[in-house]
C-alpha cells in the first residue's frame, strides 16, 4: 500500500487528535492552539495535494479502516470529487485561521481563545471526515461533529448570537435526524451502510417505498443543512451574528461540504436513473434551484446590513449549485457548473465575509448606508470586496463568469430555456445589491457628513493577518476565473464526471 493512500485517514485522524492536543496546550499558553492548528492544517494541505495528484493519475483511493473489508468495516473512498473538495476545504480553513488571528481579539474574549480554536479545528475535522468517508453512518458521525461545533462556534461570542445559534441547533438537529432516519430506512431494506455496496444493491429495490422514503428524508435533511430555499430560515441570522471568521468559513466551505453530501447521495448512492424515473426529481430540483436563485437575490436587495445581505446572497448562490445538479441528468455541463461553482462561491463569498468582518472591526460599521469613504480608509479591503463582488455578479474574467457560462450552456444543452433567462436575470439582481455597496464604498459623498466621519477618527489599521487572506481570495477569484476558461481543468472535470458515473465526458 502506498503512503499516499494513508493520507486521507491521517488527515482526518490527525485533525481530531490535534484538536484535543490544542485544548491541552491552551492551558499552557493561550497562543499555542492557533499555531498548532495552522501548522497541522498546512501539513494537511500538502497531503491533500498529494491525494489529489494520486487520484487524478492513478485512480480512486479505497482505504479499509482496521483492515476490515466493507461492508462490515468502514471504508474511506476518495475519488476526484472529494479529493477536489478536500483541497478546497483545507485551503479555505487555513486562510480562515490566518484571518481569525487578527479578528478574534475584537470579537471574543481572550480566555475563550483556546476553546475557540479547538472548536474550529474540530469543525474542520468533521468537514474533512464528511469529505473522505464512503460510509453513510460514518458520514452522520462527522456531520454531527461538524454541526455541533458549528452551533458552539456561532454562540461563542454570546449576546445576540445566542438566539440564532439556538435556532440553528433546532433546525440543524432536525436535519441531522432526518438524515439519520433516512439512512435507517434504507439500511432496513439493504442491510448495508457502505455507499458503493448500496449502489449495487439498491437498483433492485428502487420501487420499494421505504427506499424512496429514506431518500426523501436524506435529501430534505441535507437541504436544511445546506440552506436550500425555502429551508434557509435559520441561516441569515446565523451569518449576521456569528464571529466573522465563522461566517466566512461556514459560507465558503461548511455549506459546500453539506451540499457535497447531497451530491454523493444523488450520484454515488443512488443514480440519476433513480432520480429521473422513479421519483421524477430532476426538473423539480431545477425549479427549486431557480426559485432559490431569484428569492435569495430579491431578499438580498432588501437588506441593509452587509452580512445579512451576503447571507441571502449565499442562499441564491447555493441555488446555482443546485441548478447545476438538477441539470446534470440532461447535460454534463450542469455538473461541471455545480463543481465549478462550489469552488468559485467558496472563494468569492469567503472573501466577501472577510471584508465585512474587516470593515466591522476597523470602522465598526455594519449598515451599508454608513460605508461612505471606506474606499479611502481601507483601500485593500475595498479592492478585494469589489473583485469578489464582480465575481458574484459574473463579470469576466472572474470566477463567477465561468460558473454562469457553464450553467447557461447546460440549460441550452438540456433545452431548458427558462433557466437561461433566470441565470441572466440573477446576474443583474446581483449587480443591483452588490453595486449599491460598491457605490457607497467608493463614490457616494454627502456634504457635511464627511467631516463628522473624520472626526470619529479611524479605527486601528488592520493587521496583515486579516488583509492578506482577503487579498489572496480576491486574487484567486480572478486567477481561478481565468483557469476555468482554459482547458487546464479538463482532466479533473473528466475524472469527476466519470467517478460520479455520469458515463459521459466533455
Amino acid at each position: 500500500m502506498l503512503l499516499v493512500e494513508h493520507f486521507p485517514v491521517l488527515i482526518v485522524g490527525l485533525a481530531m487528535f490535534c484538536a484535543y492536543t490544542m485544548l491541552l496546550a491552551g492551558y499552557l499558553n493561550r497562543k499555542l492552539p492557533f499555531f498548532i492548528s495552522l501548522a497541522m492544517n498546512c501539513v494537511f494541505f500538502i497531503m491533500s495535494l498529494f491525494v489529489l495528484d494520486h487520484v487524478l493519475n492513478v485512480g480512486p483511493i479505497r482505504y479499509w479502516q482496521g483492515g476490515w473489508r466493507p461492508p462490515w468495516g468502514i471504508e474511506y473512498v476518495i475519488d476526484a470529487m472529494n479529493a477536489y473538495l478536500l483541497v478546497i476545504v483545507i485551503s479555505i480553513v487555513i486562510l480562515g485561521l490566518i484571518y481569525s488571528r487578527g479578528n478574534v481579539k475584537s470579537e471574543i474574549e481572550e480566555r475563550k481563545h483556546p476553546t475557540f480554536y479547538t472548536l474550529v479545528q474540530l469543525m474542520a475535522a468533521g468537514l474533512y471526515g464528511i469529505t473522505v468517508t464512503g460510509d453513510l453512518f460514518n458520514m452522520f458521525i462527522w456531520l454531527e461533529i461538524a454541526s455541533l461545533t458549528a452551533y458552539a462556534l456561532i454562540a461563542v461570542a454570546g449576546g445576540r448570537a445566542l438566539r440564532p445559534a439556538y435556532n440553528y441547533v433546532i433546525m440543524g438537529s432536525v436535519g441531522a435526524v432526518l438524515y439519520l432516519f433516512g439512512v435507517g430506512w434504507i439500511y432496513s431494506v439493504t442491510g448495508t451502510l457502505n455507499m458503493a455496496d448500496m449502489r449495487l444493491l439498491l437498483p433492485l429495490v428502487y420501487d420499494n417505498r421505504a427506499v424512496q422514503m429514506g431518500f426523501a428524508m436524506i435529501v430534505v435533511g441535507v437541504m436544511i443543512k445546506a440552506y436550500i430555499f425555502p429551508l434557509h430560515l435559520w441561516q441569515p441570522d446565523v451569518y449576521t451574528y456569528a464571529p466573522s471568521t465563522i461566517s466566512s468559513m461556514m459560507a465558503s466551505v461548511h455549506v459546500k461540504v453539506m451540499f457535497y453530501m447531497l451530491m454523493r447521495m444523488f450520484y454515488s448512492v443512488f443514480t440519476l436513473d433513480f432520480i429521473r424515473h422513479y421519483i421524477g426529481l430532476d426538473l423539480l430540483t431545477c425549479w427549486v434551484a431557480a426559485i432559490a436563485i431569484l428569492a435569495g437575490s430579491i431578499w438580498a436587495i432588501k437588506q441593509r446590513n452587509l452580512r445579512r445581505m451576503l447571507a441571502y446572497s449565499s442562499v441564491s448562490q447555493m441555488g446555482y449549485i443546485l441548478l447545476g445538479v438538477g441539470l446534470s441528468p440532461f447535460s454534463p455541463w450542469g455538473l461541471v457548473g455545480a463543481v465549478a461553482h462550489i469552488l468559485n462561491h467558496a472563494i468569492g463569498k469567503g472573501c466577501l465575509f472577510m471584508c465585512a468582518g474587516a470593515i466591522r472591526q476597523q470602522e465598526g460599521l455594519k449598515d451599508i448606508r454608513d460605508f461612505e469613504g471606506i474606499g479611502k480608509k481601507m483601500p485593500y479591503v475595498s479592492a478585494a470586496f469589489t473583485i469578489a463582488a464582480l465575481s458574484m455578479i459574473g463579470i469576466p474574467p472572474t470566477a463567477g463568469f465561468a460558473s454562469k457560462l457553464f450553467l447557461i450552456l447546460a440549460s441550452l444543452d438540456a433545452a431548458q430555456y427558462p433557466f437561461v433567462v433566470i441565470l441572466l436575470l440573477s446576474g443583474l439582481l446581483n449587480l443591483v445589491y452588490f453595486w449599491r455597496v460598491i457605490d457607497q464604498i467608493y463614490f457616494v459623498r454627502h456634504e457635511g457628513t464627511k467631516n463628522a466621519g473624520e472626526a470619529e477618527g479611524r479605527g486601528k489599521p488592520l493587521p496583515l493577518s486579516m488583509v492578506a487572506p482577503t487579498l489572496i481570495l480576491a486574487a484567486l477569484c480572478v486567477i481561478v476565473g481565468i483557469i476555468w476558461l482554459t482547458d487546464i481543468p479538463l482532466p479533473l472535470l473528466d475524472r469527476i464526471l466519470s467517478d460520479l458515473r455520469m458515463g459521459v465526458t466533455i
Binding site: 469576466p396 457560462l405 447557461i408 436575470l425 443583474l428 457605490d439 482547458d487
Partner: protein
C-alpha cells in the same frame, strides 16, 4: 500569421494601469505612464497594418478554452484593425488633453481617472482585436465596468444617478449579448468571426436566427440606437475627455463595431437578406438618424447636443452595415475612424471652452470665436465634417453610404438615400447656429473693454490635441489612406464580398 503583437498591444494599458496606482503621489510620473503606454500601443497596433493590408490576418491564441472550438485569443483582420487604429491613435491625443484638462480644472481623484481610462481603452482595443464572440464579450464587459467610475467622476448625486442609468442600460445589454453568444455557440458550435457569416448557422430555423439577431441588437446597446439611447446623453455628465474618447469613440464605437461584426461576420449578409433582417436594422438606423438629429436641435447644453449628434452618426454606420452593399459597408467602416476624429474634435472643443470660460450652454457662447479662435476653428472643421461637406473626411464616408444606398436600388434604397441626405441637412441645422453665434454675434450684456474679446485660449495641452484631430479630419479627406485606413477598408470589403 502567428504574432504576439496583439497581446503586447493589450498589455500596454494593463501595465500602465498597474504602474499608475503606486505612482499616485507623483502626478508627472503617473501621467508619464499613460503617455508611454498610449504611444507604445498605437505603434504596436499600427505595425500590424502593413501585414493586414497584404491580405494576411494576424492570429494569436491566448489559450484553448474547455469548450470545444472556442479559444480565447486575437485575430486581427482588416475591419478590427481599423477600429483598433482609431481607438489607440485617439488615446494618445486624449491622454495629452486629459492632463491639461484635469490639471487646469484641478479635478479630484485623478489617479482613479487615469487608472479607469487605461482599462476602458484596453477593453475597446480588445474588442477590436478579438477573434471570436467569447473573447469580445470579455472585453465588452471590461469596458462597461471600467467606464462607470469615469461617468460618475463628479460623485454628485446627479452623477451617480447618471451612472446608475448607464449600468441599468448596459448591464442588461451584456446579459442579452451573453445569451446571444451562448445560443450562437449552441447552434453553430463555434463563435469565431467568419467573413460572410458563420456557415453552420444557416441550418438553424429562421425564427431562432431572428431571436438571435434581436438578442445581439439589444446586446450591442452601446451603439445607442433608439429607443435605447438615453443612457448616452445622461452619461455626458462625465469630464469632457471621457465624453470625447469613450462616448464618441471607444464605448459607442465598440457597440457599432459589434453590430457590423454580427451583420458581416456572424449572421452573414446572405441570411440577413434572406430573412429580411436588414430592413429591420436599416429601419431602426434610419429612424434613429432623423429622430436623434431632431432631439439635438432642441438641446442647449453643448455636450448634450453633441451626444445626440453622436447617436445619429452611429446610426449612419449601422445603416451602412444594414444595406449590405459593398459601398455602404465600406462607408460604414470608413465612418468609424472618420466620425471618431471629427466627433472627438467637437468634444475636445467643448471641453476647451469649459476650461477657458466655464461655459457649457450654447446660448452663452455668443462671440466666443473671438476669444478662442483656434478652438472654434477646429470646432467648425468638425461640424462641417459632420454635415458631410468637403473638404472634411465626413464627406468621403457619407459619399460611400449614399452610393451604397443608391446601389440597393428598389424603393427602399431611395428612401434610405433620402434619409441620409435629410439627416445631413439636419446636421447643418444644428451645427451652423453654433458657429454663427460663436463668430458673429456679440456676447450678451457686453461691456466694452471688459476683455471679453481678447484672445484667451485654453492651456496648450488642451488646445494642441484638438488642433491635431481637426487637422487629421482634413488630412483624411485629402489622403484617406492615412494610417492605411482606406486600404484596410477595401481589404475588409474584399474579405466580406470575396475578391475585388
Amino acid at each position: 500569421m502567428e504574432l504576439m503583437t496583439p497581446l503586447f498591444a493589450i498589455l500596454c494599458p494593463a501595465i500602465a494601469a498597474a504602474l499608475i496606482l503606486p505612482s499616485r503621489n507623483h502626478p508627472n510620473i503617473r501621467e508619464g505612464w499613460t503617455i508611454a503606454a498610449s504611444v507604445t500601443m498605437f505603434l504596436l497596433v499600427l505595425s500590424m497594418a502593413p501585414v493586414i493590408v497584404k491580405g494576411d490576418t494576424i492570429r494569436y491564441v491566448l489559450f484553448q478554452s474547455m469548450f470545444e472550438d472556442i479559444y480565447i485569443g486575437f485575430k486581427v483582420d482588416a475591419f478590427g484593425e481599423i477600429f483598433a487604429i482609431t481607438a489607440s491613435s485617439l488615446w494618445v491625443l486624449v491622454s495629452i488633453y486629459s492632463i491639461g484638462y484635469m490639471r487646469t480644472l484641478n479635478e479630484h481623484a485623478q489617479t482613479r481617472y487615469f487608472f479607469s481610462f487605461c482599462f476602458a481603452i484596453l477593453g475597446a482595443v480588445g474588442v477590436a482585436l478579438s477573434a471570436n464572440l467569447v473573447t469580445l464579450f470579455i472585453f465588452f464587459e471590461i469596458i462597461t465596468i471600467s467606464t462607470y467610475p469615469l461617468v460618475i467622476h463628479e460623485q454628485t448625486p446627479e452623477a451617480l444617478r447618471a451612472g446608475h442609468k448607464y449600468l441599468a442600460y448596459l448591464m442588461p445589454a451584456g446579459a442579452f449579448l451573453l445569451f446571444g453568444i451562448m445560443t450562437t455557440y449552441y447552434l453553430a458550435g463555434t463563435t469565431d468571426f467568419a467573413p460572410g457569416g458563420i456557415k453552420s448557422l444557416a441550418n438553424a430555423s429562421p425564427v431562432i436566427i431572428t431571436v438571435l439577431f434581436f438578442a445581439f441588437l439589444l446586446g450591442f446597446m452601446k451603439a445607442a440606437w433608439m429607443p435605447f439611447h438615453s443612457w448616452l446623453p445622461t452619461a455626458m455628465i462625465a469630464p469632457s475627455p471621457v465624453s470625447a474618447l469613450l462616448h464618441a469613440v471607444a464605448v459607442v464605437k465598440a457597440g457599432v463595431f459589434g453590430i457590423v461584426r454580427i451583420v458581416g461576420y456572424v449572421i452573414g449578409m446572405d441570411l440577413m437578406h434572406e430573412l429580411g433582417l436588414w430592413l429591420i436594422l436599416a429601419g431602426i438606423a434610419g429612424f434613429t438618424m432623423i429622430t436623434a438629429n431632431l432631439f439635438a436641435i432642441s438641446q442647449d447644453n453643448l455636450k448634450r447636443r453633441l451626444a445626440y449628434s453622436t447617436i445619429s452618426q452611429l446610426s449612419y454606420i449601422i445603416l451602412g452595415a444594414a444595406l449590405l452593399t459593398k459601398d455602404s459597408m465600406q462607408g460604414a467602416m470608413l465612418h468609424i475612424p472618420f466620425h471618431g476624429y471629427m466627433k472627438i474634435t467637437l468634444f475636445l472643443c467643448a471641453g476647451a471652452i469649459l476650461v477657458a470660460t466655464g461655459k457649457t450652454r450654447i446660448s452663452e457662447m455668443a462671440g466666443i470665436g473671438k476669444r478662442m479662435p483656434v478652438t472654434m476653428l477646429a470646432f467648425s472643421i468638425g461640424a462641417i465634417g459632420m454635415a458631410g461637406i468637403p473638404p472634411v473626411c465626413g464627406f468621403i464616408s457619407k459619399l460611400y453610404l449614399c452610393l451604397g444606398a443608391w446601389a440597393v436600388g428598389s424603393p427602399y434604397g431611395i428612401i434610405f438615400l433620402a434619409v441620409i441626405l435629410i439627416s445631413s441637412l439636419l446636421d447643418v441645422v444644428y451645427f451652423f447656429p453654433i458657429i454663427l453665434t460663436a463668430f458673429f454675434s456679440k456676447p450678451m450684456g457686453e461691456i466694452s473693454g471688459s476683455g471679453e474679446d481678447k484672445v484667451k485660449e485654453a492651456p496648450l495641452l488642451v488646445v494642441v490635441p484638438l488642433t491635431i484631430t481637426a487637422i487629421f479630419s482634413l488630412i483624411f479627406f485629402v489622403h484617406p489612406n492615412t494610417f492605411y485606413i482606406f486600404d484596410l477598408a477595401k481589404m475588409a470589403i474584399s474579405d466580406l464580398f470575396g475578391g475585388v
